[in-house]
């Protein structure tokens, strides 16, 4: 018997005014799983993450996380349930120090010991943040800001971590370091939903891959079964022959 997924998105429609961005999207993520969501520009990847984080209200469909329907919740309530999003563009708080940024990430938690422990874990993952603890967020390099954004997100103790375009604007060395960290995070049992335009790299760490094509999610399957051609088509938004729609996969 298959265990129920940690995150289960079914039949999700999202509109921006009269423009429909997502069409009957169905995606699921199991505990400890790394799922990559690939696709071209404006395919709806970030929209899906924003809807799961309750920043956008769906017009149809359900988002169930750990048995709780996220439909009527606000973003801070979703974070408290164990879902965190590292937004595209990092968005560290420039007027707060690195340490304060991390503490803001732990806002939904009260237990001081747990917060202190999470901060130690983040400092172990990204030792540079410990050295920069009292530096303002806007004084960090792009790579350091990305590490801070991921670390800050980890401070809420998430069961599901969503990351949006984390390699954007970073040097290859930094990207490598960030991806090493992702593997370490998933080993702790935290599920990861990864949105990337760097397809090869995201697929290399994923257990399963979805492609977003013009607002529709298509499950491509496990990375080993994917050809270079499948990935190229997903990136450029072509229809994927033989790939099952995520609705079909679940039915």
């Amino acid at each position: 018997m298959t265990p129920s997924p940690l995150l289960n998105v079914r039949g999700l429609d999202v509109h921006y005014g009269r423009f429909q961005a997502l069409f009957h999207v169905a995606v699921h993520v199991a505990q400890g799983e790394v799922v990559a969501l690939i696709g071209g520009n404006s395919a709806g990847k970030s929209t899906l993450l924003r809807a799961i984080a309750a920043l956008l209200a769906p017009s149809a469909g359900t988002i169930v996380f750990s048995g709780t329907d996220l439909g009527d919740l606000k973003p801070h309530q979703v974070v408290a349930l164990g879902v965190s999003l590292v937004p595209e563009g990092r968005h560290v708080f420039g007027s707060l120090t690195v340490r304060e940024n991390l503490l803001v990430g732990a806002h939904s938690r009260r237990a001081r010991n747990a917060i202190r422990q999470s901060m130690e874990e983040v400092y172990e993952l990204f030792p540079i943040l410990r050295q920069r603890a009292n530096i303002m967020g806007n004084e960090l390099s792009g790579g350091e800001q990305q590490m801070l954004a991921i670390g800050r997100s980890l401070m809420s103790g998430p069961a599901l971590m969503m990351l949006d375009e984390i390699s954007q604007g970073l040097s290859p060395l930094v990207i490598k370091a960030v991806y090493r960290t992702l593997s370490a995070i998933s080993r702790t049992g935290t599920a990861v939903l990864l949105v990337e335009q760097d397809v090869r790299r995201s697929v290399s760490v994923a257990d399963r891959v979805y492609a977003m094509v013009r607002g529709r999610a298509v499950c491509l399957g496990v990375p080993g079964s994917l050809t270079e051609d499948d990935l190229k088509k997903a990136c450029f938004g072509f229809e994927l022959q033989g790939a099952r729609s995520s609705e079909g996969e679940r039915s």
């Binding site: 984080a53 920043l55 606000k74 973003p75 801070h76 974070v79 408290a80 965190s84 999003l85 937004p87 968005h91 708080f93 420039g94 007027s95 707060l96 304060e100 503490l103 803001v104 990430g105 806002h107 939904s108 800050r152 809420s156």
Partner: protein, 289 residues
């Protein structure tokens, strides 16, 4: 020259009171990015509430202050929650108009209840002074204003810089959406910030009521003073509010002494313009704020 010492000392002490008047506006304007045009009227409402406590209930001014100041926190919290947050969802401009409306309503309610007569909170300390030299004495009410103003600034500074709520206020003001992604209920945080701002306005209102006469329409006058203080000191800077208050207080009282009482306000605003010309972000403000 020696006759200038008294207005200089009085100006510095008045600066503390002006800082107390401005600190709530500075918190909302500089940190929450909300211009509360009703700030002065909320302050004057606290003055009238204290007056009622003193005249009708028979409390001492200090006891009245202890009663009134905490009452204003839920008022500010509720105002933000039920009125301004709703307006804020429609963009940054509607809350300004709504606050202007609240200002007009408050002024007219106060006018209906208390008539347009000038009032002041009767307090013995208002006429006391500590003699220092033959030509210099320190008015006790100004000393109180300065002390309370400095304490209020220190308290708000510690709250904003050192507490969980303060971090949340700063994060929400910098990037509301990301703050929500960090688990911060930004609307609740704005309510708390407004509650604190109105509480500081209440502290200032009680002091102003004991120091000067006030009318139902005095609110906008103190709103202007508060704007002057935060523009001179630097938007969002708590220590800047104290510096701004002292500069404005000095400019007004020294100006009044040199050019005559009719030039008091003019001198204050000339200094304000001079600071804007030389240092547009204020004495202790940051250029990017």
């Amino acid at each position: 020259m020696t006759d200038l010492i008294q207005p200089i000392v009085n100006g510095i002490l008045l600066g503390g009171l002006y800082a107390a008047v401005a600190i709530g506006l500075s918190l909302m304007f500089g940190i929450v990015r909300l211009i509360n045009l009703a700030h002065g009227d909320l302050m004057i409402t606290a003055s009238y509430l204290s007056l009622v406590m003193v005249e009708q209930v028979g409390l001492s001014p200090l006891t009245a202050a202890v009663m009134v100041v905490p009452m204003l926190f839920p008022a500010g919290f509720g105002l933000q929650k039920y009125v301004l947050n709703r307006a804020l969802r429609r963009g940054p401009e509607p809350p300004i108009i709504v606050a202007l409306g609240i200002s007009i309503v408050l002024q007219n309610v106060l006018l209906l209840i208390f008539s347009p007569d000038a009032r002041s909170i009767p307090a013995n300390v208002a006429v006391l002074a500590v003699p220092v030299t033959e030509n210099l004495s320190l008015p006790v009410i100004y000393l109180m204003g300065f002390g309370v103003g400095c304490t209020a600034i220190a308290a708000v500074h510690v709250l904003v810089r050192r507490t969980r709520l303060g971090r949340a206020i700063r994060a929400a003001s910098e990037d509301d959406e990301t703050a929500r992604l960090m688990g911060i209920d930004t609307e609740y945080v704005h309510c708390c910030a407004m509650g604190i701002a109105v509480t500081t306005a209440a502290v200032a209102g009680v002091l102003v009521g004991m120091t000067f006469t006030f009318y139902p329409h005095s609110g906008p006058q103190y709103l202007l003073i508060a704007f002057g203080v935060i523009v001179i000191g630097g938007v969002g800077s708590m220590t800047g509010a104290l510096a701004g208050g002292i500069v404005l207080g000095l400019a007004q009282l020294v100006g009044a002494h040199v050019f005559g009482p009719g030039h008091q306000l003019l001198c204050g605003y000339l200094v304000l313009l001079a600071v804007l010309a030389v240092r547009p972000h204020g004495i202790l403000g940051r250029a990017n704020s």
